[in-house]
């Protein structure tokens, strides 16, 4: 099977906690931002 998800390598090299939390915050922020950009474009389109 391919695709995202738990990978064998991931658990063996987790890295320091602060770095992992920073990555989590960054990915979370990027995901919300991506959705926000789509919503913003829709809003601009509706107000045009």
């Amino acid at each position: 099977m391919t695709g995202a998800g738990p990978e064998p390598e991931a658990a063996s090299t987790p890295g320091p906690l602060w770095k992992r939390i920073a990555w989590m915050a960054a990915i979370w922020g990027a995901s919300v931002l991506a959705l926000g950009v789509v919503a913003g474009i829709l809003r601009l389109w509706l107000h045009a």
Binding site: M1, A4, A10, A11, S12, R20, M24, V32
Partner: protein, 467 residues
Amino acid sequence: MDAVILARAQFAFTVSFHFIFPSFSIGLASYLFVLEALWLKTGRGVYANLYRYWLKIFAVVFGMGVVSGLVMSYEFGTNWSVFSAKAGPVVGPLMAYEVLTAFFLEAGFLGVMLFGIRKVGKELHFLATCMVALGTLISATWIISVNSWMQTPAGFAINAKGQFVPAGSWLPIIFNPSFPFRLVHTVIASYLTTSLAVGGVAAYHLLRDRTNLGARTMFSMAMWMAAIVAPIQILAGDAHGLNTLEHQPAKVLAMEGDFEPSPTGAPLVLFGLPDDGAARLRYAVEIPHAGSLILKHDPNAPLPGLKDFPKDRRPPSAIVFWSFRIMVGLGVAMLGLGVFSLVARARGRLYDAPWLHRAAVAMGPAGFVAVIAGWVTTEVGRQPYTVYGQLLTAQSHSPLAAPALAASLLAFAVVYFLVFGAGVLYLLRLMSRPPAPHEAEPAHTPDRAAGITPAPAVDPPLASPAA
């Protein structure tokens, strides 16, 4: 055709199409949570494999749910502007909370679920899965609260502009009389729908290869879920029905096909042909007194009839009558599948029972049909109101033009079947691929070297892992 009927048909079409996806994603998010928790607890690779198998499907389902949900926001403005203006101060904030939850919990942490495992490690990744599962449940809570308020409005006042506004606290609005019953019934329905879909996919692969460990594991999990949750759902539905009888009696009478009052106990109508024009049920097949026994827990308890309500305050009974029977009939079939699986499991033949697997494949889509039938029952049964007892549907719509509505309904139908048809075909393609039985074991298991031993070495192919 009447423009209001077309507007209602358009909303019914878009919301029915939409709810297929959340009803799956609510259940799948919790299923992913369980799979990852089991992987972390046991270290068995089969759970990680199944997690990966269903994660991609979940992402597609979630995306289609978001896109199909957007359309309804526009319909509130274009077709139902009077409803939006009048009920907006109550329903608007609750729907905004749902959107915020979807943004910050579901969509945000879905990114971590999909792309974060190599960066955040397994514990934080599991936290993200928990947040997404929690987010789907919180989203469901807000949406069901809005819908329940429209069914059993409470805690509101009417201001000088004729708008519904909170009469002090928001708590009576959020926790309106039908809210807990609807929330429980809807969330359980999502879990049941998901278990049947997962079970159907697993059974499809078991019919081709009954040694497939992933298929066996998810089939076992799905059948446990169906066997346990189907009877609970029947009890939850009964409680919901009693609540509806208390607050929306005309809806229950339409569901039961009771046009005439029953002063000495109502029958349970199994089948019949409701005739709204003549206000009678033709060719009724009924069990005397059983209706009162179910609805009042007393065979001789009196029940009113639809004729006790003014003709223009009755829901269209034929749709409600039949959609209710479709939902209940499928619910009984789900219970039957659960019992069938328990018998097969007790005989040690859960993975070696082709008829059970064929039945599970046939029942795979049943949850979606039952969920839509249930929503049709409750929404059509609320008619002729948008806000029950307070705001008529006939007073809720925008100035509408039938040709424009007919054209947009046709456009919706074409676009939906093209776009979402392609999406559903892609999902079916993903599901038609069997879970790989020889996926490498995730590396964190403490008893051996990381990532070397293949999963089958610790999960014998013919074991019954979740039995």
